[in-house]
């Protein structure tokens, strides 16, 4: 390509969508999109929303760091992780809409559902920095916990009855391995850095730890789909212990956050932070009904 006229080729191609890697028509090539007959469709939709909302909501949180990170390299890395999760969310929400069969696409599901219909775990939505509620250490504590849990969860889905979810899990595992490695390196650096960073890392872990229990509580939808998150708790604990030991830190002793009448994120009952997150995420889309973007 000639750089002197990079600018001039605009007019002829205005129909083309240039966003490389941001569309998903080709994201899962060759995967059978037929709806499996041996799974309850409503359960499959609900499960796709659980996984999709986890990824969407944490992506939204991580993107808040963009232009606010401690180093430019971290601006790049956190944006990259947020983009990976957004990519997973788009595939999963699209699949939820496809299986539901009511014509809702990824945007209808992301922008037009109300808070009670979001199925993500609380860990994804709580504030862990850069704004009030945390700092870089808290963000890394959450990312370590989330990605370690997700890796175990996605690994358990590689043979799942729905080939699309299984394919998203396979694709996502490669991304999550990098996310976990990134978080683990920072947890070690901060745990073994200065007195201040050690203190902040310990506080960050204590902040997120009450939300760990929820990750391993099987929801009735998961039970009906034959999935048991409790089955990978030991694997999770072992990875976390290895990282914390390298960082000179201990597993927090904080007790699990109590539920609301037995309900939590997977049931659509969220923390107060969720309403603000959705207000920001959804405001523009809802302000211009009928607009095309």
């Amino acid at each position: 390509m000639s750089f002197d006229n990079a600018y001039e080729s605009l007019i002829d191609h205005e129909d083309t969508h240039w966003a490389f890697g941001t569309g998903f028509s080709e994201a899962l090539p060759g995967v059978d999109r037929a709806i499996p007959s041996d799974v309850d469709s409503a359960d499959l939709v609900a499960y796709c929303l659980m996984l999709g909302d986890d990824a969407l909501v944490l992506s939204q949180r991580l993107a808040e760091w963009c232009s606010r990170a401690p180093e430019l390299e971290e601006d790049v890395a956190l944006a990259n992780i947020a983009l990976d999760l957004l990519g997973q969310a788009r595939l999963l929400l699209t699949r939820a809409g496809e299986v539901e069969g009511c014509g809702r696409d990824e945007d209808a599901l992301a922008y037009l559902r109300d808070e009670r219909d979001f199925r993500n775990v609380h860990l994804a939505e709580i504030e862990c920095g850069p704004f009030a509620g945390g700092d870089f250490a808290t963000t890394m504590a959450r990312l370590l916990v989330f990605s370690t849990w997700k890796i175990a969860q996605y690994s358990s889905l590689l043979g799942f009855a729905d080939p699309v979810v299984a394919a998203v899990a396979a694709k996502g595992l490669k991304e999550l391995a990098y996310h976990r490695d990134h978080a683990a390196q920072w947890v070690v650096r901060l745990g073994d850095g200065t007195d201040e960073s050690h203190r902040r890392m310990r506080a960050g872990l204590a902040r997120v730890w009450p939300f760990v229990e929820e990750l391993f509580a099987a929801h009735p939808v998961e039970q009906r789909l034959g999935l048991d998150p409790a089955g990978y708790r030991a694997e999770f604990d072992s990875v976390i212990d290895t990282v914390l030991s390298a960082a000179g830190l201990e597993r927090p002793t904080s007790v699990p956050a109590a539920r609301v009448n037995g309900r939590a994120g997977r049931d659509g009952v969220h923390t107060e932070a969720m309403g603000y997150l959705l207000a920001e995420l959804q405001h523009l889309h809802r302000s211009l009904p009928g607009a095309t973007w």
Binding site: L83, S197, T292
Partner: protein, 311 residues
């Protein structure tokens, strides 16, 4: 032949200057200042667009915008690395930015007030930046020229994405079309200001042209930008807010009006609509991150000592 004469001969013969080559102090200082200002512009430029990431109106647009702002951080990194080949230090340059000793492109001192601004910045601001930057792919300093080739490729990609967003919005609802026009009305004149003051008032041009650091004058580039942009605006269906804008068949160029140069000097001087906010944001990120950088350095030093102890 003395070093200076040899340097002048090499540069005027379009040879590249590399980090280990002898170069005059003035050339080194001018380059550090110019590349640092460019790097600062990329980093400050993350803010006006980053302002809309959390509110992007579709997931596809959110992905495009996040990827774009991430690219800007990457551009800042290559450019700071280029200044380091000249002996500068990234930390010091960041201090210069947040203390106001070095500048960045004034365009980023304008606020982004609607999602159309994301498209307009891509189309007009990145477009103007490309006009300024394409000639720098042939600039005399090798590391800078090579960084610019990569940056220009990505910028032209961003410009297309911006134009595509505006085109999509123009095909949408009346409210969306009005949003695009209002955004273009706000960004047109500041975009023309991006080429700097008129040649008659620009102090740095002559020496920089001689050293092949700069390759076209401000007015030449501004004219080129207007000539390229007018047909694109027509295709898009927006009106550029300049009653004097008119094709001049004798010159073979568009005639156009002058931006408000008083406003330009106000913004350059620090009194633009968002100057204080942009610097405060960058300063906060830098200062809030201090303990993280200190921890990383302490950990690296401790690990090096441990490894030495083992060896």
């Amino acid at each position: 032949m003395d070093l200076e004469a040899e340097f002048e001969r090499a540069v005027s013969g379009e040879q590249r200057v590399e980090p280990r080559d002898w170069m005059p102090d003035g050339y080194r200082k001018t380059l550090i200042r110019q590349i640092a200002q460019h790097a600062h512009s990329e980093i400050i430029g993350m803010q006006p667009e980053g302002n809309w990431i959390s509110r992007a109106p579709s997931l596809r647009r959110k992905a495009i915008l996040l990827a774009k702002v991430q690219d800007e951080a990457g551009h800042g990194l290559y450019l700071y690395a280029a200044t380091e080949t000249l002996g500068a230090d990234r930390g010091e340059l960041t201090e210069n930015l947040i203390n106001g000793r070095q500048k960045y492109s004034s365009i980023f001192n304008y606020p982004t007030l609607s999602y159309a601004d994301v498209g307009t910045i891509g189309w007009l601001v990145d477009g103007a930046a490309i006009c300024n930057q394409v000639p720098l792919c042939r600039t005399s300093y090798g590391p800078y020229a090579r960084a610019m080739i990569r940056i220009c490729k990505e910028e032209s990609f961003h410009q297309r994405q911006g134009y595509e967003l505006l085109m999509t919005m123009m095909r949408g609802t009346d409210a969306q079309r009005a949003m695009v026009q209002e955004s273009v009305d706000r960004f047109w004149w500041p975009s023309l200001m991006m080429f700097g003051p008129p040649d008659s008032e620009s102090s740095n041009t002559e020496q920089s042209m001689k050293w092949r650091i700069k390759r076209n004058t401000n007015d030449e580039l501004r004219q080129k930008f207007v000539d390229m942009t007018v047909p694109q605006a027509e295709k898009l269906g927006v009106t550029l807010p300049d009653p004097a804008l008119k094709w001049n068949p004798e010159r073979g160029h568009y005639d156009f009006g002058q931006p408000d140069w008083d406003e330009f000097w106000q913004v350059v001087g620090g009194n633009g609509p968002a100057n204080a906010q942009r610097i405060a944001h960058r300063r906060k990120a830098h200062e809030d991150g201090e303990w993280v950088r200190a921890a990383a350095a302490a950990h690296a030093a401790r690990r090096a000592r441990r490894e030495e102890g083992v060896a």
